[in-house]
Subunit: 120 residues, 2 copies
Amino acid sequence: MSRIKSSGDTLVGEELKAGFSDRLYRQASLFKALAHPARLAILYHLSEMESCMTGDVAGELPLSRTTVGQHLKELRGAGLIKGTVEGVRKNYCLSPSGIKALKVASEELLSRIDTEEAYC
Amino acid sequence: MSRIKSSGDTLVGEELKAGFSDRLYRQASLFKALAHPARLAILYHLSEMESCMTGDVAGELPLSRTTVGQHLKELRGAGLIKGTVEGVRKNYCLSPSGIKALKVASEELLSRIDTEEAYC
DNA sequence: ATATTATGACGCAAATTTACGACATATGTT
DNA sequence: AACATATGTCGTAAATTTGCGTCATAATAT
């Protein structure tokens, strides 16, 4: 690895990792946020509920509240969801801008690699 | 791992993991294949070259030949690329069916979570 | 003030991923 | 046959991810 992992992590600043372009790193982290069934489940859940609390989701998934909290944190870090405090609880919902970024990234990738025939 | 990784692998068997639906697991593994800059770089490279050898890609990336080989293996496992033997070397290229599956998966996800306004 | 409730943060263990060097194998060359 | 070339496999080390229990904190309720 030898990757320099700073503190902020969320949307901070993409610091000089090994040798790939920032764009690749950015795209990869968006997809990484989708690379776990629990996170996909959370996104789907949020799309149906329009908003919900950590405890809520935890009840729906085969995972502990703490673990769900971590996945929520990662989704938030990727910018795909955001949360607002509402008294004791926190309300999470999909973040239009993050979803948009994901859309752009996947469209860019797919438009480049989409092909009808195999060359080998 | 502990995953039974058979030969054909791609859409094989999805055996009993924790508690999410097979569909979520399948989608997640497709996205996981895209969750590393090196793998994205390989896909982009293949889209430009139409086909290429392991050694080739390794030359383009800041990684050893062995490591690139592992990433190629993962992409192949996800069904996104395939390779044909050509004498001493192996030729890799994008796999239309795998790309198609990815396209379907990301379209499904995006159509479900796409939203104009934030609910919190 | 004292419970109760909902969360995030911290610490830890197990499982995975990532990266590589050293080998083994197979195909062409000379 | 002896060599060089292109790959895949194995073993290993380091870094990350995943999952979860335990605490600390903050907002309500009693």
